[in-house]
Subunit: 264 residues, 2 copies
């Protein structure tokens, strides 16, 4: 395995994935470059999924969508190949995980449309730069994620609840986090909720549906952001004949700088 300190740009990470030198999660690599979720679907389902993303931009912020059959995300990484440039993939048939390949040329179809979806690493970097604590990073665990009772707007076969991630903050830091993450609408943007978990249908904040629990200290409130697991859950519920995603934590690293995604 290559030394991660050498992987300082999107280009170097993608090359290391392509030649098999890097097959681990991408967290912490290529500091300053935006990382992204990947969803690959046949064209027959692509309109409905694109509509689902358009209707639910907070959980499904699109950074790029490819032409059918084209594995190149021309907008975010014009020299990349989405079939080989991630550390690992998951292949799902009828909603069931059937393979976890290192690359997907053998699965590729001429009608595949790829969706490159922003991820929370970008706004977490901005929070850290501003001196705000990010609890799950401090603890070295996965962010806690919860299904809510907030329904996404459906589109064709795609529907499901909004899934949120949670970061505990003292109230003044929560205000600052709203300001900071508002600047990044293409990577989930501002929080969707602050405070009482039960108000959005979360019964037990110590038992996340995905990821790991983190402690909420005295004086802190839980702050909730729309999460990229939302579109994945909607896809799995729709049980499409075939869909390919990134492997958990093994994101696509783009050429886009986090700061290019800031608005205002």
């Amino acid at each position: 395995m290559i030394n991660p300190n050498q992987l300082v740009t999107g280009k170097t990470v993608r090359a290391a994935c392509r030649n098999g030198a890097w097959t681990a999660p991408t967290c912490g690599l290529a500091d300053g470059f935006a990382q992204a979720n990947l969803v690959v679907l046949p064209k027959a389902l692509a309109f409905d999924f694109l509509l689902f993303c358009q209707r639910n931009p907070k959980p499904c912020p699109l950074l790029d969508v490819t032409e059918p059959g084209d594995p190149v995300p021309h907008h975010v990484a014009p020299d990349a190949d989405l079939r080989t440039d991630l550390p690992g993939y998951r292949v799902w048939r009828d909603g069931k995980l059937v393979d976890e390949p290192r690359e997907i040329p053998s699965y590729w179809q001429d009608d595949f449309v790829s969706f490159v979806i922003g991820c929370s690493f970008t706004f977490e970097s901005a929070m850290l730069r501003a001196g705000l604590p990010v609890r799950h990073i401090e603890l070295g665990v996965n962010v806690p994620m919860f299904r809510t009772n907030i329904a996404c707007r459906s589109a064709g076969a795609f529907h499901g609840p909004l899934v949120v991630s949670m970061r505990p903050l003292i109230p003044s830091d929560a205000v600052r986090a709203v300001q900071i993450t508002t600047r990044y609408p293409s990577v989930h943007g501002a929080p969707v909720h602050i405070g009482d978990p039960s108000a959005i249908g979360i019964a037990d904040i110590s038992r996340p549906d995905f990821g790991d629990a983190v402690p909420i200290q005295a004086g802190e409130v839980p702050v909730f952001w729309a999460c990229g697991v939302t579109p994945q859950a909607a896809i799995m519920a729709a049980k499409p004949p075939l869909v390919i995603t990134h492997s958990p934590g093994c994101m696509f690293v783009t050429d886009v700088r986090d700061e290019e995604l800031a608005v205002g």
Copy 2:
């Protein structure tokens, strides 16, 4: 014709359009409610057009997209009917204007997808509230619009240049206008250019490609915003077999308040 002073909400404007009491432009009606451009296309072209909008969000900010065959824009006006609730429509076949009906039930198809696209009225209202001058409104003419040498990102059959609208401002007001319009990314957002028209391929600022010329006073600079004519021009260039749009100035008035579209 009904007294425009009675048309104070999206709902009242739409009802007046539906029963034929209002057949004129919507500028100035339902103050505070967002107005929108309309594009109706058969499903076969909808994926490519949705992709065009996703790839060019500044000129093509989507407020709502309907399910195929459904004339109701559930997100922005759940009791509306897009076939009857605008003052007037244009019907285009193979890129040629063939009819200007008051309503379109007789043209409706089960595979029609409707795109509700944000318009500049929302950010102009915000500029006026902030005390900034909006020259074409002061003069009672149409905003001047220009084709630029900036290419949109293409999608399938849809391609073409970015079209911009221009408002002259003194530099300190231009700064304020950047701040104000940044808050409204779903209605064209921040300017795309300030100053030298030739830098974006505009040969003569006194001769707009669409709309009316307005004077630029001493000390003012031209400020350019992405314009909703961009997607219309891309559609006309693609010459689809059938497309329906709003009639110029005769917008769809939504239930969404301008301020709900503000980010941050």
